[in-house]
Amino acid sequence: MRTHRPAPAVIDRNGLDQLVKLLIADGRTVIGPVERDGAIVLDEIESGAELPDGVGAETGPGRYRLHRRADRAVFNHAAGPQSWKRFVHPVRQRVDAPEEPRPLAFIGVRPCDLAALSVLDGVFGAAPHPDRRYQARRDRAFVVAVDCVEPGATCFCASAGTGPAATGGYDLVLTERVEGGHRFLVSAGTVEGEEVLERLTRRNATREEAAEADRALRGAAESMERSLPATDLRALLARSRRSERWQEIADRCLACANCTMVCPTCFCTTVEDVTDLRGGRAERWRRWDSCFDPDFSYTAGGTVRTSVASRYRQWMSHKLGTWHDQFGTSGCVGCGRCIAWCPAGIDITAEAAALAREEEPR
């Protein structure tokens, strides 16, 4: 497995602050990870000092806990409850009025989330009907990716084929190293990235530094505890329509929609019209929706997917199966958010494995 990009540069922790400052000076709204109310969330930052400082996250099915690390790592925490989709595909946006969003910069986009942005590009950006509001945010966003050297217990990006090393879709990519001096290997992926990199205080990485970063990423891939079954998931899901497993899952599923809210690729919306009391003003808003909401499949005559089993099946079959038919890729990037943030701890990798097991000859 490759990884290291040709001749990376090295910046120190101050270099990261410098990067944030520079992107803000360029007129961008900078979004990055911040520690808030017991989790790492994504929000606008005004300086690099707001980024996490030695905070780690321990995750499991239905479980997430922050802890203090022995080092001062910025990016070593598994995916939190939010993803970048809320910045390119806002929770609620007015769709009957023009908008001029400020250019964004994303700091600390993990490989799974780079893949998720690419999946969303396929959903919103594709011809012949690209979503102009999505494109206005996405196309101008400057992306600083970060390799994942310490995957969480709920991560399975290696088996989803999206990580733990970033392979494209970024302007700059960082590999954070804490041992032997806190620093970041930096490489540019675009001309714009190169221009920004040239303005940073940096030095060249030694051959050994690049090799060591590669070893760390290989180790990260090998240490991942979870994986999707190595089978044609699209075919498996299509064959599993009548599986009894769906009801077994539904007995645990709360139908609360958390999995779809935290999923970095779930994109469904509904549209609401708003008027004032006198009817003199009307607005049209688009807001996130979920296939777990009973109204999601409401058509003339009522709700189509009345059972929880049918809703979970719809979600998982779309994510791992029919997404291929619709968009030419899987909808799952292996970030593990749906596992950690499911209050019932339902694990999509375990459920896919259970469906695969049902097919094994007895």
Partner: protein
Amino acid sequence: MRRPSLAVWKLTSCDGCQLTLLDCEDELLDIADAVEIRHFPEATRRDLPGPFDVSLVEGSISTPAEAERIRRIREESGVLVAIGACATAGGYQALRNGADLEAFQRIVYPRPEAIRSLDRVSPVAAHVEVDYELHGCPIDRRALLGLLSALLNGRRPDLPAGSVCAECKQRGVNCLLVLGRAPCLGPVTRAGCGALCPAYDRGCYGCAGPAESARPEAIVPVLRRRGHGDAAIRRLLRGCTTAAPGRDSEGADDDA
């Protein structure tokens, strides 16, 4: 053009949901302009006869007189909206369902024989056809304004059916259950409050009743796994919505 007429009714309840209408301070003058208020005892002594284009009904049906009254209200109303946990799911007073009502009456009243109660407390929809329901204890001010705006403009109101969790995630509130901070009924509770309690680090106590097609009992193993005992879970689930349609009404008798 004639202004639509509005009536606000109170059955067995605390008046908090009616007061939500008065809490619409910034919009109150607009409301008073947009509708003719014909009956609203919490706001005015004026009491004009029906019919009413829109009736907002607060409170549960707890007495024979209320059972009779709600029929009359229904007959006189174009659109009938049940507002709040009492009107939609029985309220706290429904905890007496299945308990020993006479014992309660003996404890509380010096002359219990003067009390006329129905055996069971029930929501408005158990007695008459209800056009729309606003859930919660009390109802959400913005939800009430949204409903009135929709009705006045001939739109179908946009009423939530899903869970509070979706509102937490959209608002950016971290999950209290997953973080182990508090027991929370959000996953099985109907949205509409904007995740008010979780946003203040308080677990959802389910005042809006079950989300549509949610099974409240599915939360039990989720809470047990996080170390909450059965007695605490039972108490949490026995809030103000035990008479919601589809819920097994549980009494308060063994919940000492």
